[in-house]
């Protein structure tokens, strides 16, 4: 099995499609629900008038403008207004789905929606902190770069025009995109480290959700083999963006037809590709994380202030290590602190510190991964999750 993050990432993404599919479903549902009033109002304006004919046999922008005028007199005022609720809803869902996704990829263990959401809720504030940190760091950097790019662009614009000026501007924009991608990659790794760290307990008995403790390890992971990781990230970002662009464009190209399904289908394909490549990126990053931080070393990477006594959770290690799928270093000695995926991957933050192993029976060890077994074995854990 290849250890290359991009192929392993693809493998993981395909093997655990639930997070991706749920994200896509939420994306579609959020947009569809957000557009409900818009659709109703637009239907009221256009469905019973013969003046909408240019939108049936073609796609006349003037008719859209006319309907838009009527629409603007309505409660929304603008086509964009429903998006003000739809996008935040999606972002919230994304916040809730990403942590579980990362854990799924990290552990190569499928999770149902409930498990995904629970993980999301547990890691919610960690991710909010990471997002704030991302904005705090990326904002000034990208802001400064954009300002610099604007200044350079206007300097270029003083002398050069036309296509060469556009291409030079594009170089600047690509540079900003690369920096933004690197920042995203780093914070993606911070997120992975955070999820990983959260599998360990603090002396208080609560899962370790310290974001700051992950920054340095994430930096080390980021720096290790950076060119390859960055190229993978950029390749997937460009692949997703390009696919979404081309598919949306061909969706538009079908607008003039007297049917809607080609437009809808191609548009959704574009959206799905974009989400798919983002999850692929996440999975590839997880693989990279794994490659850089084999289980053996992960106990030390965060250097917890008060290491949790190893003996107390020793029994769990075997199962974790043994259930590890093939491509990962099966020979790695089990982690001293990580709980097994089938024991209690989502430790409940409770008031009572519980360093003791979960009394639940250990799942059978497998020599090689068997998704079917995983599926059937994990489902009954509802009692733990709900």
């Amino acid at each position: 099995m290849p250890r290359s993050p991009i192929l392993r990432g693809l493998f993981l993404t395909l093997r655990h499609p639930r997070p991706l599919l749920w994200t896509y479903v939420v994306s579609l549902a959020a947009a569809w629900i957000a557009s409900a009033t818009l659709r109703a109002e637009f239907a009221q304006i256009t469905s019973t008038t013969l003046a909408a004919q240019p939108l049936i046999s073609g796609f006349d922008l003037a008719t859209i403008f006319e309907a838009g005028r009527r629409f603007s007199a309505g409660p929304h005022g603008s086509f964009a207004v429903p998006a003000r609720t739809g996008i935040p809803v999606y972002l919230l869902a994304f916040f809730l789905l990403v942590p579980g996704t990362l854990l799924t990829y990290l552990t190569n263990t499928p999770r149902r929606l409930g498990a995904l959401l629970q993980q999301g809720m547990q890691s919610f504030w960690s991710f909010v902190r990471i997002t704030l940190l991302t904005l705090l760091i990326a904002g000034p950097i990208l802001g400064a770069l954009s300002a610099a790019q604007g200044a350079v662009s206007s300097r270029i614009g003083e002398h050069i025009t036309g296509e060469p000026a556009f291409l030079l501007d594009l170089v600047g924009i690509v540079a900003i995109f690369v920096v933004a991608s690197l920042l995203r990659l780093y914070f993606d790794l911070v997120e992975i480290h955070t999820i990983d760290l959260a599998q360990t307990m603090r002396p208080s008995g609560k899962p370790d959700r310290r974001v700051r403790a992950t920054l340095a390890p994430a930096w080390r992971t980021f720096c290790t083999g950076l060119p390859a990781t960055a190229l993978t990230f950029l390749f997937l970002a460009v692949l997703g963006g390009l696919a979404a662009y081309l598919l949306s464009l061909s969706a538009l190209r079908h607008l003039a037809q007297p049917r809607v399904w080609p437009t809808a289908l191609l548009g959704q394909l574009g959206v799905f590709t974009l989400i798919f490549t983002r999850f692929w990126q996440r999975a590839a990053e997880t693989v990279h994380f794994r490659n850089v931080n084999p289980i053996l070393r992960r106990s030390r990477i965060y250097a917890p202030a008060n290491p949790i006594p190893r003996a107390s959770i020793e029994p769990e290690m075997t199962s974790y290590g043994s259930t590890f799928p093939g491509p990962f270093p099966v020979s790695d000695p089990p982690s001293p602190i990580l709980p097994g995926p089938n024991s209690n991957p989502l430790p409940e933050p409770g008031p009572t510190p519980d360093p003791l192993p979960n009394p639940e029976p250990i799942s059978p060890s497998l020599a090689s991964p068997d998704p079917g077994v995983f599926h059937h074995d994990v489902t009954p854990k509802k009692d733990l999750l709900n």
Binding site: S27, L28, A30, A31, A34, L38, R39, F42, A43, S47, T48, T49, L50, A51, A52, P54, L55, I56, G58, F59, D60, L61, A62, T63, I64, F65, E66, A67, P82, A83, G86, I87, Y90, L91, F94, F95, V98, F127, T131, T134, I160, T161, G162, E163, P164, F166, A180, A244, S248, A251, L252, L255, A256, P258, T263, A264, G267, V271, L274, R278
Partner: protein, 762 residues
């Protein structure tokens, strides 16, 4: 560098202007040339400035002695104190929006007259005036007073030395990178019009107005610059200091502009008009490699359209300037020189539309030289209307702006969309600087004017409108007509085509008919006579379609085309008031001499009668002079069994026999009144059209039919684009949700893409 032979020829050419026409394809002058300019200018493109000596000879054709001369000094508008800057700051400007609280130094411009004298009048001085708003700091108009009056018919020759400083491109003027547009760059006298000087200040939304003139201009500038200018080139002399002097000559034009850039590439072509060849001289930027051919192609096709529709282009050249991107110079008209507007990537027809529009101004502003300050709609509005017509013919009626496989947009729709942005603040006839703001100026002068003329075309018919536009051009080219001249031209064409009816006649001398000493019609006023033709016949035995009137002594010669002079009884006029078919018949009979004897038999002399009003006035009063908004709607449709008390028939056969009371209620939602046509389609496949005068607030049509109403539509031929809401013009009982589904598909996809993009923060 030109070859010596060329130079000799050009030198010869430059000496020709005095002898015959060199810049037009007409053997004789086309206009009454009031001014003759001769300007020698040294242009310094690096410092965006020039120094010039202008010799200006003004011929006093005003019929009265003149003691003052106002001059436009347009470049002084580019100062924070000017009226243009103030108006732009508070209300927006058409080519700039200085909303910040500072005035950038590079946008400063000025024109300074350093010396002024007049031959025989000695040294003179200019005094700034502000005829429109009294802003003493405006400095865009200055007046000179002569020590003694200039007698009617006499000429005066002014010598002016002046310095220009061009601003960073603002309001169609100035520089951008190494490109320089010299527009409105020399002192130019106002127009003596309707008994007074007409010399308005420069305003944020106004354009220009000037007399017809000849221009003999020499520009000296560094050799690396390629220059385009109004008129025909007359010479290119290389000087010792790496400069060259370029000569240009223009005649029968009101203005002179030039543009220069080291980055121009030349694309030349020819259009063969019925008057002679016209050179299309395109100076496109190297950064726009496609632009040269695109401009050339659309201009050739546009000129063909204009010649066919309105009349030939008489000048020998049209120069197209492709201005620097990001400048505020794109899309501007000067006589025989226009600026285009394009980009290195331009997949729409905006490039073509702009070129067409600016070329159209050669007719509507250049030749039919209306007052752009006071009647912006006569140049921009008429031009936008012909733009939609011509681009529709050339680029597709529904695709003249966008012709993508997935979407389309027409120029006529674009005009209508602009009209809808601010439809009811100002009438189209408002002076350009008196609009509520720039947005209203744009919406009304361009969008509403074009849309109302398109509506008028729907009312009077395309043929009538074509006739009217052709008449407007051929009758008023090289004059300064007014809005009323235009409206009366349309009325005249409409009457001749039977698409409008005259509501009264008056002598063209302007004397009210009630003041006429009527001899033959002693007991009748003209109005009465027109109102009761049978009485005329009884009294005078004349054909009921003729009116005999006496005219006051010294009345104007005949104006109606079908009348002939009669030396026996001068001062007697005849005017036709019959229906159009009779008018045509009358004209045919006229040609065959019979009517001429008939006229004599009735002792009818040349007429000078013209209509006082027509049935089109109601439309003009609302659409042109008024701010009324037009909006008729189908309020409701209903189909109920006539025998409503009977139980509903379940069996199909019985259902077929059911008689329905089909009702359509129309509603007038706006304050604009216009007759309405409605088309009703029934489920039995039949349809009918009904009409309503549109006066009341609502109107109900009821029909008893065996079918239910499927749809009812106001303006079924879509000839009233002035209706501000076309979506309420119809109701159908067969709803179609495809538009909603299409919009939803795009909206949902875009929403998802945007949301996913936003998710990059997580």
């Amino acid at each position: 560098m030109p070859r010596p032979v060329h130079l000799a020829l050009l030198a010869l050419a430059s000496s020709l202007p005095a002898l015959c026409q060199t810049a037009t394809n007409s053997p004789t002058p086309l206009s009454t040339r009031v001014v003759a300019y001769s300007i020698e200018a040294n242009v310094d493109p690096d410092h965006h400035s020039l120094e010039a000596i202008e010799t200006l000879t003004y011929k006093n054709l005003t019929g009265q002695p003149l003691t003052t001369f106002p001059f436009h000094l347009y470049l002084n508008a580019f100062r924070p104190q000017s009226t243009v800057s103030t108006e732009t700051h508070f209300n927006g400007g058409i080519r700039d929006n200085i909303s910040d609280n500072d005035y950038p130094g590079e946008k400063l411009g000025s024109i300074e007259v350093t010396h002024l004298d007049a031959v025989g009048f000695g040294d003179l001085s200019l005094r700034f005036t502000a005829p429109d708003d009294g802003n003493a700091q405006d400095h865009t108009v200055a007046e000179v007073s002569l020590p003694r009056p200039l007698a009617p018919g006499d000429s005066i020759t002014f010598h002016l030395n002046f310095k220009d400083r061009f601003p960073l491109s603002v309001a169609r003027n100035g520089y951008k990178r190494d490109f320089l547009m010299g527009g409105q760059w020399f002192p130019k006298p106002g127009v003596f019009w309707h008994g007074a000087w007409n010399c308005h200040q420069y305003h944020a939304t106004t354009e220009f107005f000037s007399d017809f003139a000849t221009f003999n201009v020499h520009l000296t500038l560094p050799t690396r610059f390629v220059v385009g200018a109004s008129g025909v080139p007359t010479g290119d002399t290389v000087n010792s200091n790496r400069t060259h002097t370029l000569g240009f000559y223009a005649e029968d034009v009101g203005d002179f502009a030039f543009a220069l850039s080291p980055n121009f590439t030349v694309t030349d072509g020819t259009y063969l008009s019925s008057l002679g060849p016209v050179k299309i001289h395109v100076l496109a930027l190297k950064a726009h490699p496609q632009a040269g051919q695109r401009y050339l192609s659309i201009l050739q096709r546009t000129m063909e359209q204009f010649e066919e529709r309105y009349g030939p282009y008489p000048y020998k050249i049209i120069t197209v300037i492709d201005p620097e991107p990001g400048s505020e110079i794109g899309g501007m008209e000067y006589p025989t020189l226009i600026t285009g507007d394009t980009s290195w990537f331009e997949p729409t027809y905006i490039t073509e539309i702009t070129a067409e529009h600016e070329f159209g101004h050669q007719y509507w502003y250049g030749m039919v030289a209306t007052n752009e300050f006071e009647d912006a709609w006569l140049d921009e509005g008429i031009n936008s209307y012909t733009e939609a017509t011509v681009t529709g013919a050339l680029l597709g009626r529904k695709t003249s702006v966008l012709n993508f496989p997935w979407a389309n947009l027409s120029d006529a729709s674009l005009q209508r969309m602009q009209y809808l942005l601010a439809s009811d603040f100002d009438p189209v006839t408002r002076h350009a600087w008196q609009f509520r703001n720039e947005a209203s100026y744009g919406a009304i002068s361009y969008g509403k004017s074009a849309t109302l003329l398109a509506t008028l075309e729907g009312i009077v018919g395309t043929q009538t409108m074509n006739d009217a536009m052709r008449l407007w051009f051929t009758r008023y080219r090289f004059t300064h007509p007014t809005a009323e001249d235009f409206l009366r031209t349309i009325e005249e064409a409409a009457i001749q085509n039977g698409r409008a009816t005259a509501l009264g006649y008056t002598p063209t001398s302007g004397v009210p008919c009630t003041q006429l000493p009527l001899r033959e019609l002693s007991d009748l006023t003209i109005a009465k006579a027109l109102g009761d033709s049978s009485q005329l016949k009884r009294t005078f035995g004349v054909d009921q379609y003729h009116v005999i009137v006496e005219l006051p002594a010294g009345a104007h010669p005949p104006c109606l085309p079908f009348t002939q002079p009669n030396s026996d009884r001068p001062g007697i006029g005849v005017a036709h008031t019959g229906p159009p078919d009779d008018l045509r018949a009358l004209r045919q009979t006229m040609a065959s001499q019979q009517i001429s004897s008939a006229l004599k038999a009735f002792a009818v002399a040349p007429t000078t009668m013209t209509f006082t009003s027509t049935t089109l006035r109601a439309f003009f009063n609302q659409a042109v002079y008024g701010t009324q908004v037009l909006d008729y709607a189908v309020d409701s449709i209903d189909s109920s069994p006539v025998q409503w008390w009977l139980p509903a028939e379940s069996d199909l056969k019985a259902k077929d026999k059911t008689q329905y009371l089909d009702t359509v209620v129309l509603r007038r939602r706006g304050d604009f009144i216009l007759p309405v046509t409605v088309e009703v389609v029934f489920s039995d496949g039949s349809s009918l059209r009904d009409s309503w005068d549109g006066v009341d607030r609502w109107k109900k049509f009821a029909y008893t039919r065996s079918g239910r109403i499927v749809s009812a539509e106001i303006d079924p031929d879509h000839i009233v684009p002035l209706d501000s809401d076309v979506l309420n013009n119809s109701i159908t009982t067969a709803p179609n949700y495809l538009p909603t589904q299409k919009l939803a598909a795009i909206w949902v996809t875009l929403h998802q893409l945007a949301a996913q993009l936003a998710a990059w923060i997580v």
